[in-house]
Amino acid sequence: MIALRNVTKTYQVSKEIAVMAVRGVSLNVERGEFVIVTGRSGSGKTTVLNLAAGLVKPTSGEVCLGDVNLWSLADREQSLLRNRKIGFVFQFPSLLPSLTVLENVALPTIFGTNHRGQDPYERAAELLDMVGLSDKLSAYPRQLSAGQQQRVVIARALIGPPEVLLADEPTSNLDEQTEHEIMDLFRDIHTQTGVTVVLVTHTSQLVSYGTRAIEMASGVIVNHQI
């Protein structure tokens, strides 16, 4: 499903200083897997996630989604592919403050998502019902708690529907109880829809939610657990 082949990513901080965030990583994620990527801050796990989504261009190596090399595509095609096949859950509050909850969830559809002919707002309402926020359709993000906002983000990530769900530290800003609620939600979604999930976290206790765990340190994969 997702394949990173000998991928390296170097960030040029200044003329003299370059930081190698990912060093020759190779990773295959199969369809239907729930992969948890752990590691300390600066280990390169978020960069791996961004590489998998085509948000960062690798310095060397190949990133493929299905059979397609992401960086062989033009911006328009790459964006459309991301829109149709990838759902994103971010670490930070990522809802548009000027849109309602319902509009935020339906937002990706304006970029060309194939939502199988269904009305995007109808589908968005269904997803919000699935994440337990059917009573917040007209609310604005500022009227929601952090946990509720993250549920909306998860609903938005599923609007496609996607083939892959990429989550970057989705529980880092939440209290422990909400963290578990959100992780339960990820597990339920994975079980019910069969969507491939790659979730990055620095909390190693969360690896039990996945079907496979990967640990990263200093830009390389140091441990695989199944």
């Binding site: 960062v56 911006d75 964006s79 990522s94 548009l96 990706p108 304006i110 970029f111 060309g112 938005r156």
Partner: protein
């Protein structure tokens, strides 16, 4: 939801930024439209005034040029006289087709014997006149009779009365000329015969009599023969008729032209400064907004927005604000110019004519295009930069 709706929601969600851009667009469009309307209104007014007079040369007493121009353009009464024999001398000069005399008179100020205070009155000779007579023949079908007059567009018979009382003499207003935006609009035109009759009656009925010096005229309007050079004729007049100044039609109202040019330069300077400041401000605001929204725009890219979409969404916001601000600015400029046109004429000391509808539509279009292109141009670089940024980096910051 589409790109336009998303842009509109962003505008509503960023009130301060939106208001500043809106106000900039409003000021640029409104000020540029006002400036162009005033300058064009003044120029149109001068052109119409010249057409109304219809003379190739106006001969006035030496030193009275500015007074006569002010009277004709601003409606400020003037009393200037020269010997009537000058008219015969002018008429005999080679190249002169017609020389028609005029008397410049005025009603009394705040006098019970005059229903209009300090109105500029022009008496003409129907036998030689080419300014009013063609209009009279076309509109009235006959010449003015004794006791009749025509007025500029702003001359009216007082409400509830049938005539205009001047020096205790009742004059019938037979019609109004079209507006020129000049003092001619507040001027009454009457024949020599009526003027003399008013002067005669005024001796017994007015607070002060109307005095017309014997064998005197105020000005002579000259039409040159086809093929003759007005400049040579004017030079001839100057040489052969002492004590007069011939003003050629293109040089007429020179003082006002200079005033308008000065005004134009001043307005262009202010407009340029306003435009540059607005563009810099808008550019800064969009740069700041783009920086503030880096993460948000990075999220849009992660959700599948193309670079083009991000670029267009920022430009769409700029265009919407420019159109809205520009439209309000234009509406305010039109309203202010219409409501305060009299104040404008008094304070700037220039004539002014409101533009015709087709001309106004063109000016409005120009104002909108200026606001639109200015704001879009200012937003172009920030929009381009933000659309090209690395989405992952944008989201990390």
């Amino acid at each position: 939801m589409n790109l336009g709706q998303l842009a509109w929601r962003n505008i509503k969600g960023n009130a301060f930024r939106s208001w500043v851009v809106f106000l900039c667009a409003m000021v640029v469009a409104g000020f540029s439209l006002s400036a162009v309307m005033i300058i064009r209104g003044a120029e149109d007014s001068l052109r119409l005034a010249l057409n109304r007079l219809g003379a190739d040369i106006i001969v006035v007493p030496e030193g009275a040029e500015t007074k006569v121009e002010t009277a004709l353009l601003m409606g400020k009464p003037v009393k200037v006289w020269m010997p009537q024999e000058n008219l015969d001398k002018i008429a005999r000069i080679p190249g002169v087709a017609v020389a028609s005399p005029q008397l410049y008179l005025s009603s009394l100020s705040n006098a019970s014997c005059c229903s209009v205070s300090e109105m500029f009155m022009v008496a003409f000779d129907p036998k030689t006149d080419f300014t009013i007579e063609p209009w009279l023949k076309q509109k009235l079908g006959h010449e003015l009779r004794l006791g009749e007059s025509v007025g500029g567009s702003n001359v009216f018979t007082p409400e509830g009365e049938e005539n205009i009382k001047l020096y205790g003499y009742f004059i019938t207003l037979k019609g109004n000329l079209t507006s020129t935006g000049t003092g001619l609009d507040q001027t009454m035109f009457l024949t020599f015969e009526t003027a003399q009759d008013v002067a005669r009656i005024s001796k017994t009925r007015a607070e002060r009599p109307l005095e017309i010096p014997a064998n005197s005229i105020s000005a002579a309007l000259v039409k040159v023969q086809p093929g003759s050079d007005p400049r040579s004729v004017a030079l001839d007049i100057m040489q052969k008729v002492p004590g007069v100044t011939p003003i050629e039609s293109p040089n007429m109202f020179q003082t006002f032209r200079q005033q308008i040019m000065g005004l134009l330069r001043g307005m262009l300077l202010i407009l340029s400064i306003t435009l540059v400041l607005s563009l810099v401000l808008i550019s800064l605001i969009f740069s700041m907004a783009a920086n503030e929204r880096r993460r948000e725009l990075g999220v849009l890219r992660a959700l599948g927005a193309t670079r083009g979409f991000v670029f267009q969404s920022i430009l769409a916001e700029a265009v919407m604000l420019a159109v809205d601000g520009g439209a309000v600015g234009i509406a305010l400029a039109c309203l202010a110019t219409f409501l305060f046109r009299d104040l404008l004429v008094r304070s700037l000391g220039i004539p002014f004519l409101l533009p015709s509808l087709p001309s106004l539509v063109t000016l409005i279009g120009g104002g909108l295009v200026l606001a639109l292109s200015g704001v879009t141009l200012a937003a172009l670089i920030p929009a381009f930069k933000i659309s090209r940024q690395d989405p992952a980096l944008a989201m990390r910051e």
